[in-house]
Structure formats: C-alpha cells, structure tokens
Symmetry: C2
Subunit: 291 residues, 2 copies
C-alpha cells in the first residue's frame, strides 16, 4: 500500500499533508477491492489513492458529526486540531480527490462523484434518524446503504470500468459487501469491548443510532423490554444496563440473526465473483470478524 | 436567475432542497459572469447552477469556520439547524455539484474541481493566518486569491471553454475581478455600518483577519499606532476603538490606497474584455460599491 500512500501525499501541500498521518486507517477495504478488481490496470493505485482520500475526508467530518473523540485508539483530528481545521482539511481532501478524478474517463468520475453525494446524504439521514428512536428497518437499511455501502459499491464499479469488466456484477458485489461490513460493525459495537474496538462499546445506542440488531430486538421483545430499550436511547449506558442489553440481545437471537444476515450478504457477494480467490478472501475476512 | 434556481433545486431530495432557501445569496456574481461569457451556450445555466451550488456549500462551511451567526441579516444555517447539519448539507452540496460536473467535458470539470481545492485551501490558510497578527501582504494576497478569486477565475475560464473563447484572457479577467471583489469587501468592513453590511462592521480584525487596508496602515503607522492596532487583534472592538481605527485608517490614506488598488485591478480586468459591455458593467458595479 506504500505506493498508494505516496500518491495521496503528492496530492497536497506540506501543511495539509501532515494531516494524513493523523487519521488512523483500517484495512483499506476500498483500495484492496480496487486493486483486486483492476489488477491489470496501471491506474489502479491512482484510483485507489483518490478513493482513500475521499474516505479520509469522510472520516474527518464523521468524527465531528458523531462527536467521536478517538479513532482506533488515537485522538480525532477535531480534538487535536479543532473542528475548524478538521472541517477544512476534509473539504480540501474531498475537493482534491474530485479534481484528480477528472483525469479518468467521465464514467468513472461520475460513479465516484455520485457515491460521494450518497455518502454525505447517508450521513445526513443518520443524523436525522438519530433524533428519535427509529425502529423502521427499511429506513435504517437505506441509510447504511448510502452512508457505508455506496462508496464501496462505487469503488468496485469504477475498478470494473477501469479493467473492462462487467460493471453490474462488481457493483452488486460491492454493495452487498458494504452492507455486510456495516452490519458486522453494528454487531461488534455490542459484542466487543472498548479495547477490542478502539472506541467505547455499546456506543451506537448512546449516540441515538438504533442499529440492525437493536431494531431486530425491538420487534422480538415484549412491551416491558421495548420500553427499557427505548429508555436507554441517547443515554450514557451504565454497567448494569450494558449487561442487560448484551444478555437480552444474545437471548432473543437478535445478535445471531444479524450475524446470519451479514453472512448471507457475503455469500451472495461471493457468488457474484465465484472463482476470484482474492475477492472471496476479502469477504471471508469480514465474516471472520464476527465469529 | 429563476432558471438557475430550478436547476439547483432539481439536484436534491426535498429534505435537502429546503436548505437552499435558508442561505441568502448576493448578486450571484459567478453566474452572471458565466452567463455573460457563455451567452450563446445552452449549457450556461447548468454550469451556473453547479458553480452556485459549490458557492452555497462554501458559505455553509465558512459561516461555521468564521462563527458568523448571521448572513445578510438572516441567521446562519449552523445557528438554526446546528453545525452537524450545516457541515453535512455543505458536503452534499459539494459532492452533488461535482457529480453533475462530470456531465461536462473534462477540461471544464478539471478547472472547477481545482478551484474548489484552492478555495478550501484558502479558507484553511485564512484560519492559519488568523492565529497571529499577520502583516505579510504577499501571504494575505495569496490567501484571498485562493479563498475568493479562484472560483471566480475558474467560473470565467470554464465559461470561456464552454463558449470556445480564449481561456487565458477570461481566466485573468476572473482572477483580477475576484481579488478586487475581496479587497472591496475588506474596505466595506471598515467604512460601512452594521445595517449596510448585514453583519457586524469592523468584524475582520476582531476575527483575527488582518485585511489589506489594515496591513497597509500597519506599515504607514508609527510604533505607538502599530502597537495599538496589534492590541485590537482578535478582540471585541469598543465604540472608542472603532472611532480611532476608522479615523486613522482614513487619515493614513490606507482606505484610499486600498480603494485605488481595487480600481486598478478592475481597470486591468476591463481592459482584458474591452468591448464587452456586459462584463465591463459587472466590473463597474463592483467599483460603485466603494464609492
């Protein structure tokens, strides 16, 4: 991935470049997918660098929106450098990525450009949904498609265009993988502890985010448990609330059903790229996270 | 301009569309320039709508950055709807504009895309310069070129590409007009009152923005006045400070020299489009603002 880092660095003046290192990155899912799909194209690293820059921009703004003071255990940029600079560096990242995107054919620029509009709209809907307890699964799923899956979907589709492969299959592969990725994240927020997550656990409900396992539990629960669940919405979760929540989510089968749902999405995704070991292994690695 | 408004509205879902009306717009300088330069192109309104959407996005974020609670007398979106939504709606505006931009030839998308990166970098430098008293005219001018002039420059250049006119002359026309526009704004902050401005007057120095007339005065002043000027940096300006500041800025000739500088820029700009009455009248209208 060194090559991609070098390209990203080259996009910026030194004063801006220093912010790249301040944002801890994960497994670089989007780049891995682009490089696997367009492995024969010389431009795969350049496209990856653009998409990772967009992703970094979204992280800078997301952390402000979610008031997330740490990311993977490190303090967020808006904490160390202030919200003003985090907003502006995010804007610079977005705009520089777009400017570079014009060096690709317009179909690629269009696919990525539309995905960024979806991503931002998804974040907006996330904030709207968090204003009250949302138990509507369809609205939740539409939001996570926009917020998380759209850029992964677009990365796969753009890589397919670059590699002269079938756009539709790879777009669908990316969308399924993206929704599964978010669902797994939602499960981990409940089942894992702060050390494992690099951020507070059971944080979603405190932040007003009624995720898939919680929606599932809401419909499986009796009136008393529904009431108790709603009473925790947007509140700091105490130790005894956390114990209760984890235990009812396990006992009701909501965790298991959410895990199962993610696995089915990933199986569907794999069937679209049957025979491609590299892409299948990306899907398998996601499944292993929730085992 | 109704046609442009309709196109902008069409870019968004209803929940986002409502934010357009919450941002008071000015004279739509960028659209006026695009429509005047590309008056024979059917796509001038579409390009104008994209650039105005970018401009709206920058206003949403600028108001947060500058903590500007009102715009043209109306409360800012981050005041009425919160900073989170103002950040995200700004992101949606930026990204939607970029996605639409891919419908133009890549030279146009590139010119506008690069300008947005400059604009965001200019805002960043503005924040950096505001951290201490900056008396370096060159650094200030580079910042206002990026922050204000770059998108006006790019609007003119993109319109010239659309109309098959000479890119370089129109780019230079736009840059000169843009720097003049900001210089005039800097003068008005000093010479006009709150009612005329639709925002507090003498606000720049309070916000840490050492503008051109203030830099000019700094070099014209004796040690005592330099000290007094620096002492007001970043402070709320009292009535007696304001009276002092206005009077020394007039007496030192700093206001007159800044006005003169803006006029010269506009004269140079007009000479590049000699014979084009519509563009000349845009420049003349700017000159009239500081008379």
């Amino acid at each position: 991935m060194n090559e991609i880092d070098n390209i990203i660095s080259g996009f910026f003046e030194p004063t801006i470049r220093e912010y790249i290192g301040k944002i801890p990155v994960g497994k670089r899912l989007r780049s891995r997918l682009i490089c696997a799909i367009a492995k024969n194209s010389d431009r795969r690293f350049f496209l990856s660098a653009i998409v990772e820059t967009i992703h970094l921009a979204s992280l800078l703004h997301d952390d402000i929106i979610d008031d997330a003071k740490t990311r993977r255990g490190a303090p967020s940029v808006f904490v160390t450098d202030g919200a003003k600079k985090a907003i502006l560096v995010g804007d610079i990242f977005y705009a520089s990525a777009f400017a570079k995107l014009t060096e690709f054919e317009s179909a690629i620029a269009e696919v990525i450009g539309k995905a960024v509009a979806k991503l931002a709209y998804g974040e907006f809907l996330d904030v709207k949904l968090s204003e009250s307890f949302n138990a509507d699964r369809e609205r939740y799923e539409n939001m996570i498609y926009l917020k998380t899956a759209a850029l992964i979907e677009a990365s796969c589709e753009a890589a397919a265009i670059l590699a002269n492969k079938d756009r539709e299959s790879f777009r669908n592969f990316g969308r399924l993988l993206g929704v599964a990725f978010q669902t797994i994240d939602d499960v981990l927020d409940i089942t894992h502890n702060e050390t494992e997550l690099g951020k507070p656990s059971l944080n979603d409900l405190s932040e007003g985010k009624v995720t898939l396992p919680l929606i599932d539990f809401y419909y499986a629960a009796d009136k008393n448990n529904q009431k108790k669940l709603i009473s925790l919405f947007g509140k700091t979760i105490t130790k005894s609330d956390a114990d209760w929540l984890r235990s009812v989510l396990e006992q009701s089968g909501s965790i298991a059903r959410s895990r199962q749902y993610a696995k089915e999405l990933l199986d569907d995704a794999k069937s679209l790229v049957a025979g491609d070991d590299e892409l299948s292994s990306v899907a398998d690695a996601l499944i292993r996270r929730i085992k």
